[in-house]
């Protein structure tokens, strides 16, 4: 069993750390994992994405054409990768930054206003945690608790005091009841 998660957005939205957190959680949960970023002559405000693979066996290619899950943090990411998601896969869209619905009919889609939820919790930088929570509730690749534990272990020292808020944001995302998209 292998699950590929493509996380894409603007630099600064916590896309790369969100992916690393999933990889840490997968590793600590006893799975095989890879994390690979897109890298290029990118700058702040540019696009950023990473692919995380969580698997029961030795992982071959760290990149796949059709990931099981796409987490689109902004419109350019949805435009670019919507068509790539594997049939029957999951699409998690940050509707705060995407003013359109989803075209694909053969995937499951969650539109979640992750920025607003994060801001209501008190910090826009929690957006990535809200998105991760929503993804985990709909694609149980790892238990939420495993990700919370990994967060506790790997949140940067200077942000340690923000740990409870981050966990709250993960849970808020997981509790989100989306309006069904056909």
């Amino acid at each position: 069993m292998q699950t590929e998660i493509l996380i894409a957005g603007f630099g600064g939205q916590g896309v790369l750390f969100g992916g690393q957190l999933m990889a840490y959680a997968g590793m600590e949960y006893g799975k095989q994992v890879t994390w690979i970023p897109s890298y290029g002559p990118e700058m702040r405000g540019g696009t950023a994405n990473c692919t995380v693979i969580i698997s029961d066996e030795e992982i071959g290619s760290p990149l796949v054409r059709h990931p099981r899950v796409l987490m689109a943090f902004n419109l350019p990411s949805l435009d670019k990768y919507e068509s790539a998601v594997a049939e029957g896969g999951l699409l998690v869209v940050n509707s705060s930054m995407v003013e359109r619905s989803v075209d694909r009919k053969n995937v499951r889609s969650i539109l979640i206003p992750a920025n607003e939820i994060a801001e209501n919790l008190g910090d826009k930088r929690l957006t990535n945690m809200v998105m991760l929570g929503a993804m985990l509730a709909n694609q149980p690749v790892l238990p939420l608790e495993a990700v919370e534990k990994a967060l506790e272990h790997h949140i940067p020292e200077r942000h340690k005091r923000l740990l409870p808020m981050n966990i709250k944001a993960l849970r808020k995302g997981a509790e989100f009841k989306p309006v069904a998209v056909k």
């Binding site: 690393q20 990889a23 840490y24 590793m27 095989q32 994992v33 890879t34 994390w35 690979i36 970023p37 890298y39 290029g40 002559p41 030795e58 992982i59 071959g60 290619s61 760290p62 990149l63 796949v64 054409r65």
Partner: protein, 370 residues
Amino acid sequence: MAKEMMKGNEAVAEAAIRAGVQAYFGYPITPQTELLEWMSRRMPEEGRAFVQAESELAAINMVYGAACTGRRVMSSSSSPGVSLMLEGISYMAGTEVPAVIVDVMRGGPGLGNIQPSQSDYNQIVHGGGHGDYHPIVLAPCSVQESIDLTVLAFDLAEKYRSIVIILSDGSIGQMMEPAELPPMMPLKTSFPEWAVDGAAGRERRFLSSIYMDAPAEEVANMRLLNRWAKIRENEIRYKEYYLDDAEYAIVGFGSAGRVALSAVRQAREMGIKVGLLRPISLNPFPVDAIEALGKRVKGILVVEMNTGQMLDDVLLATRGKVPVEFYGRTGGVIPFPDEVVSAVQRLAAGPIVTTGHPRDRWMKFMSFLN
């Protein structure tokens, strides 16, 4: 020791430190820079030498000087930077001093781009610097293998007074995976009888790659070649996957080998009995293993992230005894597994072609790029 998540580049750097590297010289270049950055912090912490040189030329000549002292030394770069280092690498080969060099390959030729590539295969495996010498070349496919081969590289370099090149790429360098580091090894305290590290109280030693007397150079070249023969006897490494009952085989190294592994699994789900041979030592090349493989299977597919460089070595090894096809992407483009699955399907569907060159058939297939 427990597994940690590490970036390939940083894992190589820390593995070198654990293996007792005493001096590192380098110059930043993407996608290798994290290696140098890690060294810039950790080497001073350990009280060892780190120099960010003014260029790759300077860095490799610092490596040359430090290597002459018999200490464990290394440098790292990416394709264009390694091109600059080749003169110094040849001088080190001619002087018979050990050194470890890491090439985190990117798209080329020229400045190219910073995406992963395997297009330095010929440069590194078949030549690079001038003169009659053979570097040992090791190609990891994962973060763990990057660590293991870095440690091995220092041992082999010393054992054979040889250049050892770790041929990685941007994908392996930038990727994070769980991996286990070796324990910290004690630094060397005794040094070889050829090392120049202060002649007080003993006769002076002299290290150079200059042999103005041609017959003496010929003797030196034969000494290198005899050493290379021992390396070929003892240091061939490769890994086999799903080959026991295979009717077809892929040969691919490094990142392309990983993509091929995914393709092998998918093709097997479709009922095609295909396996993978992944060369780990590119030099010495697993010639006998590939020749034997050619006798067992109906066809071989070579997969690379270049226009078919290792392909020529596979053709030499198989001696025309088995049909060989090629699939590659180049210029920093990474193939997806499904492209390789399609190539396996084409090979298995036949008809078997034994005339012409596999690269020509692949070029025809890729003509949509023209």
